[in-house]
Amino acid sequence: MDLTRRRFLELTGSAAAAALANELYGLPELNAQNSGGKPSAALSELAEVALKQAKKLGATYADIRINRYRDQVVALRSTPDVANGKINHVPAVRDTGSFGFGVRVIANGTWGFAASRIVTRDEIARVAAEAVAVAKANSALQKQPVRLAPVKAYVDKYTTPHQRNPFDVAIAEKLALLEKANGEVKAVPKVFSANSVLVAKSEDKFFASSEGSRIQQYILQCYGQVTAAARDLERRISRQRNYSPSPYTAGWEAIEEHDLPGNGRRIGEEVVEHLSAPPVAPGKKDLVLMPNHLALTIHESIGHSTELDRALGYEANLAGTSFLTPDKLGKFRIGSEVMNIQGDRTLPRAMSTVGYDDDGVKATQFDIVKSGVFQHFQTIRDQAHLIGEKESLGCCYADSFDSIPFQRIPNVWLKAGTKPMRLDDLIAAVDDGLLIDGRGSWSIDQQRYNFQFGGDAFWEIKGGKKGNMVSRVAYQSRSTDFWSSLEATGDQRFWENHGLTSDGKGQPVQINAMSHGSAPSLFRQINVLLTD
């Protein structure tokens, strides 16, 4: 697609494209909270242009996604002014959007893709032809023809359940909440600065395929965070502590359920304590990990290692491969009997929850690990057959209209324990250990064996009791050793979901979001390091 000068000016002056965009995505019913409705007839008509063009030019399969994205960030930093010591409250208010379509085809047994931000009938026909041309050119190097797992033809409309759209909440209301949160942090003596942020995201997604699917979705996400920082100039040490309630696919009500200001006061007090906390004594220790910490450990060690495309070598040049190979399906022990992991794109409020994936496959839930044994990879339509699966498990996603959809992590979560178990019960079972809350640094090798994680706050556990904070903590383990050491996990009352918002994978790199839930959990004898 060569955007020549003439074409750029032509499109710049095109009122038709904008009018069409508004017509398609300015309609209030799109955001209505209902599922099972009919997708837009106007979008369906546009999609036909791509599907017919692709077929005419020899494609055996085609789909089109016509998407609009919107991100809004409202943030506030409260830092002392060097001149007078008073607090400067520095705001940031930003709204970004993008709109366009992407056409994917199979021709000569090979994928082709092309995209454009100009949503007009002529441009859709041109881009569909380009996608077919790409496929035909690439087919010279194709070893085996692409094969798609079967899927039903869905005609449906899906909307993230929500009560109040975060984009309808006034900026002033958002800033007032952030001012209050920062104020609580700064009210703690010895706190240096406070930062807070609220983020809202939406995706208007329309998908149509040559197999008859017409699916319209409105996905809504929102989250907030408050961070406290403290410093000690004499010792040249600074620390941060944050309160980061889970990102959700939900409305503003999810933000209101969490007390950012009240937790601001708490983290302010904790960051000051962290500043003077003694260094951890390194060695083998029992770890009680809170759900907001364990989310990242689940993500790195299980979320990524059970991606089928990695296991097959498709990510070898960047994200890596996996210690889990197809021959291990159904028989390889990853962890203890307590370990039960679900893959899930239906979990309410979770960040990867949708009605349908970007292959047009209906969202589903499946076992990844059952009683410690590996059960299923995450799959998409063009790879399921490579391991003998008859259907895709719906894990296809593209982060933009002009990104190529591929396999991404769904919500992956650890089931709660079946016996009554509170956080205090887990702590009581530890003689020498640590309680870890929140996320710090994280790193894992390219086959997901060896990892090192930090945290946001650490407390010593001695003789079954939570003690004072310690600092400079990280722990190292191998994925299978770590999960084999899982002794107990809290019951359903203490199960929490925690969303991650920026997981990168692929070339060019794409970003996606997903949630990882768990209850607080106890891991025995993990190698704890003293960092500098």
Partner: protein, 462 residues
Amino acid sequence: MLSRDDAKKLIDQILSYSKADDCQVTVGERDLAQTRFAVNSITTSGRSAGVAIYISSTKDRRTGQVAINETSEEALRKAVAQSEELAGFAPANPEYVEPLGAQKYPEIPAYDAATAAAAQKEILGAVKAAVDASQAKGVVSSGYYERTASALALGNKHGNFGYATGTRAEYSLTARTPDGTGSGWASAEGHRMAEVDGARAAGIAIDKAVLSQKPRPLEPGQYTVVLEPAAVSDLLQYMFGFGNIFDARAAEEGRSLFTRRGGGTRVGEKMFSEKITVRSDPFDARNPGRPWVGTVQADIGGVGQFFFGGGGGAGPSFLPAEKIDWIEKGVVKNLSYTRYWAEKKDAKPTPLPSANLVMEGDDHSVEDLVRSTERGLLVTHFWYIRYVNQQTVQVTGLTRDGLFWIENGKITHPVMNFRFNESPAKVLANVEMLGRAELSDGRIVPAMKVRDFTFSSVSDAV
């Protein structure tokens, strides 16, 4: 690509809709052609042209920002109005700095017409050569080739305008042996596609895959390492890229490696080996930069700053590009000042060293460094590096795709990968020998021989 005249017209058009005191606009266009392959076969490829328009409006020190990818008159009018509406809701920014007036930007030749015109045909040639060579050697290859052409323009109501174009090509390849015990990697890049020697990169990756089969375990500990330029570049991005380590405000507020005990900064101190000289140089023909520094968000603070606890933004917006020394013979020469912080501290505004980094090398090859090593490890590159302590710049990460034992100046056998816990600041202090500087991942850096590099555990990953 979007021409200078068309960019000026478009920005003037957007500014004409503005009713705010200040309005800054950037317009970017990027044409991307890319092909990805895996398991010796193409997986995805495509070509796309993206446009992004950023509008930042300020009235009475209240700022709202909007970004869109639509260019119709209606969309542009709406975006300007939306940014002004957002500005109306925002409180006044006590650290706001007025946009710059007209600047004289240097001409930096960074655009190559042949690269901009190259498309799938040229890329497929490099991919096919890699696949053929891999099959001939019995290894399985995966890789990625992309070339981009871009035009970027900026303008504001204070009369400033700038325009720049650039091209870039990047290729990388990972070759693995079918038994899963060997893996090799190499890359090639340049602002001209003609400089990207894909065949050479493929040959290196394939040979490394074969040589690295069946690696032996080694005890974790401190070792002398020979870091290839890619490994040096991987590490140094945590010193000179991410984390705003050179931010003067962070240093003066007590949150940085460059904080002096009791307050102030460590500018002027010899903190590193005298072999180390590092600068930003957007005029270096090996890796040409833009005529200006910073972004539209820079002076008012990017969102990342709010998460990572920085203060005051990532650098000055749209000052003309210049060469800046950061470390000279081991001595810290400069820190980065936003325009706001520079005004407060009576300093010159300077950007962060995140772009066009050049570290001086010496006239030695990697083989020379290996030959000079009695016992040590040769590192191809690193993987998944993250800060453990941003203040000391301690990071953790792993070796990947070729780690080899050196004994008496010769490579003897492959070694199982390690996790490391180390600070690039300490690495720069412990350098013993430098190789010739070359372009790797956007930085011009030499290979390095470094003593006492800390490996903390063994990884089973190949």
